[in-house]
């Protein structure tokens, strides 16, 4: 008999939602010691299913049919108190955002000890001892120190380990992991995945792993469930689903993963369009006290490269490597301390006032989060024409141009009179791209422009960027943490580590034959490479 059986589960959304049921007739089982992945895009109902298991559905959302059987009892019929006794003890859960998953005002040790306290187990000194052991088990360095630390003193990966330690505290039968690595760097992600695998083996827990990333699925799943619009569209052994998907949606998702193949470098024109020499950006933060030494962070050091017409240069690296800071210096949202940034033969690294204002139209930016980068109170038309009008364009002409741009990015010109909230994330990112294009910039800087999007939408936006690049001969700086995406769109790649450019060259060279251990470690950490090899083999066999 299975450890957990979910039978025809339906979850109703409150009135006024975009659909009646968040989850419809979902059935699956989870066995002892196995890792079951639920895959799907945002809104597919994967998280709702997991939250239903924990009895942690958001207010107004309720299971409307079906059953969840665990240890012979239907969890949906349990009282609040019975559910509370179960949570953390038999079933525990880890979440997506390690940065916000811990109480910022409580010490790590106290937060772990709380799990025992919640279930009235052990004495306070014993709880502390167990907390230390747990910190040790999840591989945190210096548990004695960590136990007294506050969350803000730990990195994202370390905090996720703490959350895992809390989830493991009472040796639960089931661990639910809701996108536990999505917010982490690839290298950290690889470590956390290893940790979960290892703990599963050691403790024999069943893991329900929720993710949107098929690479992750390929690396850890025993079985897979694919969900779309609240329904299970495909289920089976991981290998079968990944190599021989039967449902078109699964196939589309798998196809949308950017392959690790490289582009050839474009032919370089005589004159670079953007030329950066020895750019330094240092942040100095004064934190209270007159006599304290200020904290100095060298975010970018001696960045040097040329960008040619029609070329895309990728900047990759982990969070904190300085890639976004470099982008911001180029747009002059920040003023670099040293170095030269030449556009069209003119150094713009130090200009101010009107000269800077005139410069701004030559280099434009596309931001990461399509939800916060558009003013929610402005109509799309205003968002697109604002810049043009500011540079003296006639209002009617600006509106004409905005309509053209909407067509260019694949939206209907009628979007002009609508507000950002009426559009999906992918559509908003198209608006963001149209806005960047409105001023006919010479260079576009895309800062993690597709990172917040679902894979299928990501693929569409990447296609759009590639198409625009060919048609308009755009020069682009593409900042990303995702090496697969970088491989797909970039001609040349800069690898940054702690503010320094550790590697720079054509994509095929940097990713195909990395010269530094750091680049190699980034490549090794990309999930799903084994699957890719299997896929290649399968293709070969078919030929």
């Amino acid at each position: 008999m299975s450890l957990l059986t979910i039978d025809n589960l339906s979850i109703a959304l409150p009135k006024g939602a975009d659909r009646a049921l968040a989850v419809k007739d979902v059935s699956f089982t989870l066995d002892k010691g196995e890792i079951l992945c639920i895959v799907g895009e945002s809104g597919s109902g994967k998280s709702m299913s997991a939250n239903a298991l924990m009895g942690l559905l958001p207010e107004g959302v309720t299971p409307s049919a079906g059953s969840i059987t665990f240890k012979g009892r239907d969890l949906l019929t349990l009282s609040d108190d019975e559910m509370m006794a179960l949570r953390g003890k038999d079933i525990s859960m880890i979440f997506q955002e390690p940065l916000s998953a811990l109480n910022p005002l409580m010490r790590i040790g106290d937060q772990i000890a709380e799990v025992f306290e919640a279930h009235d187990l052990l004495t306070p000194p014993e709880r502390r001892k167990r907390a230390l052991e747990l910190l040790h088990e999840v591989g945190l360095p210096d548990p004695d120190q960590t136990i007294r630390a506050y969350p803000f003193q730990l990195s994202g990966g370390q905090r996720q380990r703490v959350v895992i330690a809390m989830a493991l505290a009472l040796e639960p039968k089931i661990l639910i992991a809701d996108e536990p690595t999505t917010a982490l760097d690839v290298t950290t992600q690889a470590q956390i995945l290893d940790l979960i695998e290892d703990l599963r083996k050691r403790h024999g827990m069943a893991v329900l792993f929720i993710t949107h990333d098929f690479g992750v699925v390929a690396d850890i799943a025993d079985r897979v469930i694919v969900m779309q619009h609240g329904e299970v569209v495909e289920a089976g052994e991981a290998e079968t689903v990944l190599l021989n998907p039967t449902h078109p949606y699964t196939r589309a998702l798998l196809d949308a993963i950017p392959a690790l193949t490289f582009r050839d470098s474009v032919e370089q024109t005589a004159q670079p369009i953007l030329s950066v020499r020895d750019l330094d950006m240092t942040f100095t933060t004064r934190t209270g006290g007159f006599f304290k030494k200020p904290r100095v962070v060298k975010a970018v050091q001696k960045a040097t490269f040329d960008l040619y017409q029609g070329e895309t240069i990728g900047i990759v690296g982990e969070s904190g490597s300085g890639k976004s800071t470099l982008g911001r210096c180029l747009v002059r949202l920040l003023t670099p301390q040293n170095g030269v940034v030449e556009i069209g033969g003119r150094d713009i690294s130090k200009i101010t006032g009107d000269a800077l204002r005139q410069h701004r139209r030559r280099i434009q930016m596309v931001f990461q989060d399509p939800y916060s980068s558009l003013n929610p109170r402005s109509r799309i038309g205003t968002i697109l024409t604002e810049g043009l009008i500011a540079y003296g364009e006639d209002k009617a002409a600006a509106r004409e141009k905005a309509k053209e741009l909407l067509t260019v990015v694949g939206l209907d010109p009628s979007a002009m009179d609508r507000f950002p909230h009426e559009f999906s994330g992918g559509q908003r990112q198209r608006v963001g791209i149209a806005r960047a294009l409105a001023l006919d910039p010479e260079v576009i800087i895309a800062d993690e422009a597709v990172s917040a999007l679902d894979v299928s939408i990501q693929a569409q936006v990447l296609d759009l960027l590639a198409d625009l690049k060919d048609r308009l001969n755009l020069s682009m700086i593409f900042i990303t943490h995702d090496l697969r995406v970088a491989a797909q769109v970039c001609d040349r790649i800069i690898v940054m580590q702690r503010g320094e450019m550790v590697e720079f060259g054509p994509s095929a060279q940097v990713l195909g034959n990395p010269q530094t251990a750091y680049t190699q470690s980034l490549l090794d950490a990309i999930p799903g490479k084994a699957h890719e090899a299997a896929l290649a083999k399968q293709k070969e066999a078919q030929l």
Binding site: L56, K89, N103, P104, E114, V115, Q153, M166, G289
Partner: protein
């Protein structure tokens, strides 16, 4: 943390000096001087008499000399002499300060305790009639002018019901000592402190309610729930503690206003504090007293702000440990 407090204290000294100068300049920029008022009251407004008065009080000296003399005194805590009350200003203020501190501190505590408690209750019962009732009551107290509430409270509880004394600081002529004196003052304190406190309760209530609801949606609350913690523990340990951070910030800002509000309350309830002293001094154009009271209230506001900052540091490790 100690370095942080020291730095704030140094800053506070400079701010106080700036306030001294600014007050002095402002008040001398206003038309009329105490000599004119006194001469007018004496019914002898001839030039000679005015000149005599001005000479006696040093008002005939150049402005900068007057300022210099004043500052020199102030640094030694000599805030000048009240020509009207024939007493050193520092002594006048010293007599009245305890009453004001008692009133404002009690009102401050009442407003925060009731405000936070009501806010928590409203957040827990969000959307029910409890929530509506609490929010409406708080709004009512906030929207009603302070002096009117004071007058009505005095009328109801003192004049009609006769439960509480309606004015003053203690029963005149009773000469209580020991615990009886404390009880007597306490009885006199209830009406003015509650009136003043309730006015500010609404702000803390709204802030606590909004902050609680916001924090409840944060991820770590879900983590706490996933641990299997009881809801009461989650609310107290995880939600409330985090929700109090903006309330503390607000309390620091409000402290200044509570000192201002004390002027009205003290006037209505004949509370012998510096608020009433200021009210009288302004109507009599008693320069040195006005300046002295301004100075002391500014110092009180700075002190409240400092306490808030320290409190914030204690509650939030991110502030304490990055310093």
């Amino acid at each position: 943390m100690l370095g942080f407090i020291a730095a704030r204290l140094v800053k506070a000294v400079f701010i106080l000096l700036a306030i001294l100068v600014l007050n002095f300049v402002l008040i001398h920029a206003a038309p009329g001087d105490p000599a004119a008022v006194m001469a007018g009251e004496a019914g002898a407004a001839d030039e000679k008499f005015l000149q005599d008065l001005r000479e006696r009080f040093g008002l005939d000296q150049p402005f900068t000399v007057q300022l210099w003399n004043y500052m020199k005194g102030a640094i030694q805590l000599d805030l000048g002499y009240s020509y009207r009350q024939q007493m050193p200003v520092a002594e006048l203020i010293w007599d009245r300060l305890p009453a004001t501190l008692l009133l404002t501190a009690t009102a401050f505590v009442i407003s925060i305790v009731i405000g936070v408690a009501a806010g928590v209750l409203a957040a827990q019962t969000q959307g029910t009639w409890w929530d509506t009732l609490i929010s409406s009551l708080a709004l009512l107290f906030y929207a009603t002018p302070l002096f009117w509430v004071a007058l009505m409270a005095s009328l109801l509880f003192s004049v009609w019901l006769g439960w509480l004394p309606g004015f003053g600081y203690q029963t005149i002529g009773a000469n209580y000592t020991g615990i009886d004196r404390v009880l007597d003052i306490g009885k006199h304190l209830i009406l003015p402190a509650t009136t003043l406190g309730l006015f500010f309760t609404a702000i803390y209530m709204r802030m606590t309610r909004a902050s609680m609801l916001e924090v409840s949606r944060l991820d770590f609350v879900k983590t706490a729930r996933a641990k299997g913690l009881r809801n009461s523990v989650i609310q107290r340990r995880h939600v409330l503690r985090n929700a109090l951070l903006p309330v503390i910030t607000l309390a620091g800002l409000q402290a200044g206003q509570i000192v201002g509000g004390a002027v009205l309350t003290e006037t209505v309830f004949a509370w012998p504090g510096i608020g009433r002293l200021m009210f009288e001094a302004i109507s009599q154009r008693d320069y040195n007293v006005i300046l002295g009271v301004f100075f002391i209230s500014a110092a009180m506001v700075l002190l409240f702000n400092l306490i808030t900052d320290i409190l914030y540091g204690i509650v939030d490790p991110r502030i304490r440990l990055t310093k």
